[in-house]
Amino acid sequence: MKNRFFALTVISLFLFSFQLAEWQGLNFPNYFPKPQYNFENNPLDSNKIELGRLLFYDAILSRDNSISCSTCHSPFSAFSHNDHQLSHGIGDSIGRRNAPPLFNLAWQYNFMWDGAINHLDMQALAPISSASEMGSDLKKVVQRLQNDTFYSTRFYRAFNDSVVTGERLLKALSQFQLTLNSANSKYDRVQRKEEVFTKQELKGYKLFKKACNSCHQEPLFSTYGFQQNFIEMDSSLNDFGKGEVTLFSDDSLKFKIPSLRNLKYSYPYMHDGRFYSLTKVLDHYTQEKTQQKFKNSGLKKIDLTSDEKVDLIAFILTLNDKEFVFNSKHRFPRELLTKWRESNN
C-alpha cells in the first residue's frame, strides 16, 4: 500500500514536471510565453466555444450561404487554404492575399498580413464584410441568427440570454479560435524530453537558431512582428502590406511574420502564396540579391549551403503538429449537418 502511494507520488510528480501552464482556462506548455489575449473580458466557456465552432463552420455568415470561415481556413490545412495562392470568396471572387493558417492566436496582437486588425475579437468583421470574401455585414448576420431558432437556443446556452448581438457573436468566434492551439509537434515533444531530434534535425535546429530565430522566434516560431522579406512586389496585386495601413514609409512592404509551425499543411507560402515549397523559400532567402538587401537594411545574413538547406528543412518539418491538424475537437460539428438537413425539409 505504502509502495503504491509512493509510486503514485512519483508518477504525479513526473507528470507535473512536464508542465502544462494554464492561463484563464487555456492550457499550453510552460515554455510558451504568457498569452496576449485578455481573457478577463471574454472568459473561456465550453458553451461559448461550441457556439463559436458552429459559427466558424456555418456559411450563414455569408450573404448567400456559400462561404464559411472554414472555406479558407480548413482544419486539415492547419486552418489555412492549402494549394490556393490567394483566398477565394463569394461568387468565385479571388482575394488579394493568401489565407493564413490559424493557431496559437492568443499570443498574437495584430492580425492580417498587414496588421490592420488590432484584436482577435474584431478579426471576423473583415471577412464577413469584405465584398470578395463573405459579402455580408455584421448587422445582417446578427438578424439572421436571431431569426434562426437553432442559434437562439445556442446563444441562450452560451450567454444565458437568447438575444444575439454583435459582441456575443464575435466573442464566441474568438473563443473557438482561442482553442486552436498547436503545441504537440515533434519539437514540442523534444522540449518536454519525450523524444529526441535526429542528428540531421539537430544540425538544422542549430542553423535555424543562427539564421531564422530572430524573426521566427521559438517556441511560437514567430515574433508576430512585421518585416520586409524582399520578395519582388507582384505588380498585379500592388500590395504594400503594413504601409497601406499606417501610411508610414518605413512600414511599406512589411508583412506579418508567419509562424513556421505546420508548414507541411499550409502551403503555399508568403503573403501572396507564390512559393509552393520550402526549398523555393530558402532559395529566395539565400540568393545573392536578397542577401544584399538584408545586409543593407541591417538584417542578419542567411548563408546556407545546399546540404544545410536540407538539414534546416528537416528541422522545420519537426514543427508539423499532426495532433493539432487532426484534433476532432476542432473539426466540423456534426450538429450542423442535422440543422441543414432539417431546414431543407
Binding site: 484584436h119 475579437d121 464577413i128 454583435g166 459582441e167 464575435l170
Partner: protein
C-alpha cells in the same frame, strides 16, 4: 402601509429634485435639425461621445455616461438622463471626449453603444468611426467618416464646455454651419484615418457650446 406611502412620496420628491439631464442638438442657422435618409443637405449624422463628466464647483467630477452614440435620426438618443449630481450643486463645466479613446479601441469587442452592429466600426481596419456625417452639398455628395486611434492620426478630441450654473437640463448644441460651409467644401470624402480627419475632428470639437 402609510409609512410605505410616505417613503414612496419622499423617494419621488428627492428623485425629482435630482433628475437632471444632458441633451444634444445639431443646428444649422441657429435652428436645430433632425435628419433622415431622405434629407438632402444632411442625410446622416451620428457620433460618439465618451467619458461624459460634470465638473462641480469644488472640482469633483461626476461621470454621467461612459460611452454614448448620438444619432440625429433618433431623438431618444439625444437625451442622457438620470440623477446626475447628488445635490443641487453648481456645475462648473461639462467634459467629454468626441469619439472613442485609444485604449478602448484596442481592447476587443464591447456591447451596447460600442457594438460593431451600430455601424460605427470599420471592418477592413480596426477602429471606431468617431463621427459620421453624410449628405449633399451644392449638388455634390459628401461623406465624412472621422476616426483613427493611433498616432499620428488619433482623431478623438477632448471637449470642455463652461457652464457655471445649476440647471435641470444642460443643453449642448453642435452648430454645423462652419463644417458645411468651410470644412466639407475642402474635403468631401474621408473614410479612413488621416491628417485631414484629425484636423476636421479638431474643428468640430471647437463648435460645441452649452445653451
Amino acid at each position: 402601509m402609510r409609512s410605505r406611502l410616505l417613503i414612496l412620496i419622499f423617494f419621488l420628491a428627492t428623485s425629482a429634485l435630482h433628475a437632471q439631464r444632458i441633451s444634444f442638438s445639431a443646428a444649422i442657422n441657429d435652428s436645430s435639425i433632425l435628419v433622415s435618409e431622405d434629407d438632402k443637405l444632411v442625410s446622416k449624422l451620428t457620433f460618439y461621445i465618451s467619458n461624459l463628466q460634470l465638473q462641480t464647483k469644488n472640482d469633483s467630477l461626476i461621470l454621467v455616461k461612459d460611452y454614448h452614440l448620438l444619432d440625429f435620426s433618433d431623438t431618444s438618443s439625444l437625451v442622457i438622463g438620470g440623477s446626475l449630481a447628488d445635490s443641487n450643486q453648481e456645475i462648473k463645466s461639462i467634459q467629454f471626449l468626441l469619439g472613442i479613446d485609444s485604449i478602448t479601441s484596442v481592447s476587443g469587442v464591447f456591447g451596447g453603444a460600442l457594438d460593431p452592429t451600430k455601424g460605427m466600426y470599420w471592418s477592413w481596419q480596426s477602429g471606431y468611426v468617431n463621427f459620421k456625417i453624410e449628405g449633399e452639398l451644392n449638388a455634390e455628395k459628401y461623406i465624412l467618416h472621422l476616426g483613427g486611434y493611433s498616432f499620428p492620426f488619433k482623431a478623438v478630441q477632448k471637449v470642455e464646455l463652461e457652464v457655471n450654473k445649476f440647471a435641470k437640463e444642460y443643453h449642448i448644441v453642435l452648430p454645423l454651419d462652419d463644417l458645411l460651409n468651410i470644412e466639407i467644401p475642402k474635403d468631401r470624402t474621408i473614410m479612413s484615418p488621416s491628417k485631414e480627419a484629425v484636423e476636421i475632428a479638431k474643428q468640430i470639437a471647437s463648435y460645441f457650446y452649452v445653451r
